[in-house]
Amino acid sequence: MSKILNISLPPHIHAPGSVASCMWRVNIALIPALCCGLWFFGIGAAIVTVVSIASCMLFEYVITKWMLGREPRISDGSAALTGLLLAMNLPSNLPIWIVIIGAFVAIGIGKMSFGGLGCNIFNPALVGRVFLLLSFPVQMTSWPIPCADRLAYTDAVTGATTLQLLKSGAMQASDMDLWNLALGGVGGSLGEVGALAILIGGCYLLITRVISWHIPVAVCFGAVVLSLCAGVNPLIEILAGGLLLGAVFMATDYVTSPMAKRGMLIYGFLIGAITIIIRCWGAYPEGMSFAILIMNGFTPLINRYVKPRRFGAVRRAEAA
């Protein structure tokens, strides 16, 4: 026989998706929220975003190539995504050197020290963000006022976020303009201010099946339930702060969220609940980052005990 045939085990066909396509789709889905940030915060938002993405990709490249001795894989978009998500969680007047430290912690400690893509326990972008929040509390909680001066960077005029105002009692929930919250005319991190833009990105991710509805819906449900228990307006809690950004883009992070659908519901519900608990009774006005990181830590436990129902599973009583 002349021809030598290729052999392999089945299946012999493959779905079109790849790791890179998943990651780039999430990047694309963040564009509406990014545009919102650029519109409200101008040049500062652009600088923070570019520096964050570039330094995340650089750190990943350097660490994989020179420290781990592996083939760098920055083209798969996961380092860019970490950079973009980190930027989304920063105030737009943050000095460049702090952004670079955040990127280093996110990629170096949050991701690569665990073994790189797929091995990290905690969401890298949030590891970076929380590190900065604890290390630079002043810079991390001074929020430029939206649309005030788009050409200002670190010298931007700052003000408080909705949640800070509510927490300090400077403002009453009944005075809030919900439309303003939804469209983004409030202070906050550069990616969290446009609730509608975040939802547009979320819809794109749902349609392209990058994420399923379970985690975002469970996060919102958990937040609503706890808001009602705590006697605060659930709609404000969902629209203000980083809850939506976290629910759609960060709680759904593949690597750090549970594998089974029921596990996702439990995980999401608890993220929503813990966020409201921190907001209402904790020291910080915002609790989304902490809530996600706490539940990231519980993900292996959830994976261990919450399994999908097996086809033809024999119930214990029947087996006995």
Partner: protein
């Protein structure tokens, strides 16, 4: 519309030969009949070198309860009983028969003018035992691809009451259209075969499940089954693996076959439409399983089609009828692209279980580069058995046999949905199969130690 709920995928169907009629291939002058073309004990040869055999004659008989006999599709002389290489290149025993011109012409004549050995009235009077005996003596095996001896499944254990005979016309594998073509062209024969099966396993109702992407087959079989009150057609959603035994039973009856149990435990017996057709052919015309419909397809072939191919003919010759391999053909798959096996040796003979021959271009025949698992849980989503493929696969790779077993490795039906969907192109099924093999070995060892 019936379907199984949990998991499943929608691969591109690529049914290139969906409208192609069944083309009867000329009988070859030489056949190699493997003694083991089925699950179970290999058949025992009952002819020797130099014997004269006639088309349809039994040349090797079933050698146990789970075994099947082998018949010759051509008349001629037994050249030798020898070791040949099968499609995987492994040495196996075969009976090699050659025909001369006179034999050949006589066989073609016999083939075109089939004579009835039983009229339809006589078929109706056949007893349960007689139907099972026909299945046994005609070497009937599950022609969907599993090749489990049909006579065994037609005699369900006494303690399980059978409520439904489920007949699989789903044909959920991409590319394959052999069952579709058979249903379109031989609807009456299939329904009559189903009726024989239904009586043999004493089921009050027989249901033929067909995916909705074959509306002509649904219509033809619905019409053919009108005279039979106990037979009905169930259109199913087109979704892979709709034709998986457990998924099919779930989709049609809503019953779930318990882990580790046979369909009979849920009051069902499952057969394929091609098996029903072959049973009718054996009962009405006395023709044993000596030929079957095969889809020979692939974007690389110039004349893909559905062929009635004799058992024992050379696979390479079969591919030549469809246009032959090209310079840039890279892989030949026996069966569909999801569960079929890649062939090494195209000089190997056709066997009963081959439902399709799929030729893939060089560019399509390589696996993609493996990337790190990003824990996206897509494999968990698509698993029709509700397993966690990423986990079992890791246990298999690390040879953690007990962990693989506890997580249900043995429930895996090897449909390949997990490997298909994995964005990181991880060979999940390969390692799950390794895990299953290690579990089977362990159980075997424990048995011996007892």
């Amino acid at each position: 519309m019936g379907t199984f709920k949990k998991g499943g995928i929608h691969p591109p169907q690529n049914k290139l030969t969906a409208g192609s009629p069944i083309v009867t291939l000329a009988l070859p002058r030489r056949v190699e009949l493997l003694l083991s073309q089925h699950i179970g004990a290999p058949a025992t040869p009952i002819v020797g070198k130099g014997d004269i055999v006639v088309r349809g004659q039994e040349v090797a008989k079933s050698s146990g309860f789970v075994s099947a006999s082998v018949h010759t599709p051509i008349s001629g002389i037994v050249k030798k009983i020898d070791t040949v290489r099968n499609v995987a290149g492994q040495p196996v025993t075969a009976i090699i028969i050659e025909a001369d011109e006179e034999n050949h012409l006589a066989d073609e004549e016999r083939r075109t003018n089939k004579t009835r050995v039983r009229s339809d009235e006589e078929l109706e009077r056949l007893t349960v035992e007689e139907i099972r005996a026909i299945a046994r003596s005609s070497g009937l095996v599950g022609l969907g691809g599993a090749t489990f001896p049909a006579s065994v499944k037609l005699a369900p254990p006494k303690e399980s009451k059978i409520d439904f005979l489920i007949v699989n016309g789903a044909e959920c594998e991409p590319y394959l259209t052999c069952d579709h073509a058979l249903m379109r062209e031989s609807g009456d024969e299939i329904v009559k075969g189903v009726e024989l099966m239904r009586r043999a396993c004493d089921a009050p109702e027989a249901i033929i499940g067909i995916e909705e992407n074959k509306p002509d087959a649904i219509e033809i079989l619905a019409k053919a089954s009108e005279p039979y009150a106990a037979i009905r057609i169930e259109p199913l959603k087109a979704k892979y693996p709709q034709g998986g035994e457990k998924q099919l039973v779930k989709a049609i009856t809503g019953r779930e076959i318990k882990s580790g149990c046979l369909p009979a435990s849920a009051g069902t017996v499952v057969h394929n439409v091609a098996t029903a057709y072959a049973l009718y052919n054996a009962a009405a015309y006395g023709v044993p399983v000596i030929e079957r419909v095969v889809t020979v397809t692939g974007k690389d072939l110039s004349r893909p089609g559905n062929f009635l191919a004799p058992i024992g003919m050379r696979l390479g010759a079969l591919i030549d009828y469809a246009g032959g391999l090209r310079e840039d053909s890279g892989k030949v798959i026996l069966g569909g692209p999801m569960m079929g096996r890649a062939a090494i040796n195209l000089d190997a003979p056709m066997v009963k279980g081959i439902s399709g021959v799929l030729v893939m271009a060089e560019d399509d025949s390589h696996r993609r580069k493996e990337e790190p698992c990003i824990r996206c849980a897509k494999c968990v989503d698509v698993c029709p058995m509700g397993l966690e493929p990423y986990l079992i696969s890791t246990y298999g790779r690390l040879r953690l046999v007990d962990e693989a077993q506890q997580n249900g490795a043995r429930d895996c039906i090897e449909c390949g949905c997990c490997s298909y969907i994995c964005p990181a192109s991880r060979p999940l099924l390969d390692y799950i199969r390794l895990g299953k093999k290690l579990i089977a070995d362990k159980i075997q060892r424990e048995k011996i130690n007892k």
